[in-house]
Amino acid sequence: MSNQVFNYLVTPSVVRADEETAVTIRPLGENSAFRRGCVYSLEIRERDALCARWDGFPTCKYELEPNEAGELVFRHRFRGEQRHTIILRRPEEDLRSPYYEINNHRKKRPDNCAAVLAVYSLAPDLYGLRCFKGETHCHTYESDGMQDAVHTVANYRAAGYDFVALTDHFTSYASEKAKRVFASAPVAMTMLLGEEVHVPTERIHTIHLGGESSVNDWFRAHKEQAEAEVAALALTLELPDGIDREDYAWRVWIANKSRELGGLAILAHPFWIWEEVYFIPPAVTRQLLRDGVYDALDLRDYDMEPAVALREEVRAEGVKIPVVGSTDSHRTEAAEPKLPAPGGYTFVFAPDRSEASLLSAIRAGNSLCVKTDCAPEFVFGPYRLTKFARFLLDKFYPVYMRLCHGQGTLMADYPAEGAPDPQVETLLGGLNERSERFAKEFYGY
């Protein structure tokens, strides 16, 4: 991560590809302020173009003086969908330290280079979409988690999450509680209904994300009907040898019921190794993916590489497999023992953070699985979104997460029942306004 995100705000940092855009570079402290009357040089390089063409090195340079507000403003047509590097050089009379940072490396400035900034240009279909960071699989005290619903959600907000689904075993109770408690909270965070569906037994783990009501509850209330439906479904399935028809039918039934109740069905941790055995036999996982039984695959898995390689092979057969990421966390306090589970989260690219937009975006494949148990993060999903996400991880999230941290602290003070302390609500509203303003300035929309 470059520290320049805390020294300069480039607004907008996301621009339309192939259209001229006015970009402002705002210094964020005395160390980065521009001096009146000095002329600053900007060099713009296209990252995903050719740093050397057959016939030479193309460059684009601007010479700028700061405006009345002490900002540098320039207009530029950013070509294609890619990241653009902006090298800001200070004049002799306004030089700073003889060192600069690029890609985490401290380097001596070859000349009067001052900062390496960046802008991302998006094609029309992606321009206008915001990236929302979310959790699609985690647990609270309502099942085998350590914190209650309010604390769990608060801790996710403190880590910069925009949406969360609490997916306790056998119940959507915690997720419904979170929705209720934070229904009118002044915070840009969406609570989704969630549950881990274990129907008919714990043998099957499916994530039901969003929607109106619980599949677990429906099964408990209509057990005989469900069994009859599954028995009928099992007769219609065309399956290769070696796959248990009844087991498979239950998985299909759960996915269908999740959608019928307005949510998504997510294939959870098929490569979880339980007692040295994969939780779902890979032959079954392959068939489930081929048949498009689920709306998305949670690619973050306990044994992730086989999951990635298998998805790749099934995609090569022409099957689309949207992905999400999660932690399957059972505790969210840092002071507690480190989770054995490899971490991850979901990035969803949607016009807004409403439940309908988020679910629709995941279903359409506009989501990513971000794997976090490695440094730096590894991103899986569509290539264009992956590239854009890596830019956001570098330039947006370091600031945004810092701005969300205080919001999480305040959300933990919300009572499980009754009205929140008005002072807490006011403070939360103020901090939320700050993070929303930053997001709007960063994206420009």
Binding site: W54, N103, P200, V277, E305, E312, Y383, T386
Partner: protein
């Protein structure tokens, strides 16, 4: 202290009854021993509402081992399909050994696995260590094969090959070079060919230029911004093939002064037309983790389009000694499955290789490639290559000393280990 000394073999043929041997010491204290083999992927158990995972032990019960004498026990087992197995040994209800076994389908049983480096440098270009020293360093890290690929010339790889070949048949140095244009901007790895493509570029400049012109005239380059760049790379790749080598697309997402080494449009252009043989998927030039990520994702999308993209991992190491910086050495490599050393180039082209990246922070591995090979390679990296590296280090030391007797002794140990590890 009494206990298990060795479990062997560890890799078996699928769908055949075979014997697992358990060598012990202090056997008189350990009788009776029991063991169980538990497949990782195949439950072979119908679903039922009562079924719970906790019943594993009932489905895969411990069996009493057959005493073969001299502290060696045996268990017969029918291995089903291609998968990993957990293998546990108990004495008096207490687990005293837990390890993994693997069974492979007949096609993999015919192949050997080779840990390979396909992109690294010596002091003959901008690396450190002589070609011979670099080769010995790779052997010490458990490699079976390597190519030295110094910038601009193939001769250093010949130097390493000629130094190693008379000493051993158990470690192969292939010819290699990193091919550049005159001003060194373009980087293509040439693995295993018969002559230098760098020399060709230098000595037959008109011929190369004519080939580029020919390609520009015959192919549609409208999908790239700089057709001569793309044509040059395609011509280099073709010349590598003409030389009998493997054309490797090296570090496409290496970030050079804030820019990618190869634009995405050119990446797509080359793979959609099959210009290269193999993609260097995991490379060492990835300081921020950006490049290997993007290469893997874009490869996935091209595969979904119907393209075929064999992969490998290569460190591009310039340093092999810890005291000298040790940059990417042994952090990225390939596990190649081939009949013998001579089959390695073809195996690379035919997707019989797994790209491997080792995370320096915790030593964990990441593998990419064909699903079944990824699974098998992950097993081998832990169960085979870790103990193998210790034997290879002894072999390497003997090679460095050029001591024939020590080399022969180390090779005998390696052969014995290999023979016991694989049941075929």
């Amino acid at each position: 202290m009494a206990g298990i000394i060795e479990i062997y073999p560890k890799v078996f043929r699928a769908d055949a009854k075979q014997t697992v041997h358990i060598k012990t010491e202090g056997v008189e204290k350990l009788r009776p021993l029991t063991a169980k083999v538990q497949p990782m992927e195949k439950y072979d158990v119908p679903h039922s509402p009562e079924f719970r995972l906790e019943s594993e032990e009932q489905r895969y019960p411990y069996q009493r081992l057959k005493d073969l004498g001299d502290g060696v026990f045996a268990l017969e087992y029918e291995f089903k399909g291609e998968q990993r197995y957990s293998f546990k040994v108990r004495y008096d209800g207490v687990e005293i050994c837990s390890t993994f076994l693997y069974s492979v389908e007949p096609d993999l049983a015919e192949l050997r696995s080779f840990k390979c480096e396909t992109h690294c440098h010596s002091c003959r270009s901008d690396g450190s260590g002589t070609p011979f020293e670099v080769a010995c360093a790779y052997r010490a890290a458990g490699y079976d094969a390597m190519a030295l690929t110094d910038h601009g010339w193939i001769e250093p790889s010949y130097e390493a090959r000629d130094a190693i070949a008379p000493l051993t048949d158990d470690f192969r140095v292939f010819p290699g070079e990193e091919v550049h244009n005159e001003w060194s901007y373009y980087h293509v790895v040439h693995f295993g060919g018969n002559y230098s493509v760098n020399n060709l570029i230098r000595d037959k400049k008109e011929y190369i230029e004519a080939e580029i012109e020919k390609l520009l005239a015959s192919r549609d380059f409208s999908d790239v911004s700089d057709p001569p760049s793309a044509a040059f790379r395609a011509v280099i790749a073709q010349e590598i093939r003409n030389a009998g080598g493997v054309a490797v697309m090296a570090h496409p997402y290496w970030e050079v002064q804030g820019e990618y080494f190869m634009p995405t449009e050119e990446f797509l252009h080359h793979w959609r037309r099959g210009d290269f043989d193999v993609l260097e998927l995991f490379g060492g030039n990835d300081a921020v983790g950006n490049g290997n990520n993007l290469a893997e994702i874009l490869r996935g999308e091209l595969i979904a389009e119907g393209c075929r993209i064999p992969v490998l991992g290569a460190s591009d190491a310039h340093v092999t000694k810890r005291k000298c910086g040790f940059d990417y050495f042994d952090l990225q490599f390939s596990v190649v499955f081939a009949k013998d050393f001579d089959g390695i180039p073809e195996a690379l082209k035919n997707e019989y290789a797994v790209a491997v990246e080792r995370r320096p922070e915790d030593g964990r591995f990441r593998c990419a490639g064909k699903y079944r090979l990824v699974k098998y390679a992950r097993f081998l990296i832990r169960e085979y290559y870790e103990p193998f590296a210790k034997l290879a280090a002894v072999h390497s030391a003997a090679l460095a000393e050029r001591d024939g007797a020590k080399i022969a002794a180390a090779e005998a140990d390696i052969a014995a280990f290999r023979k016991r590890f694989f049941a075929f």
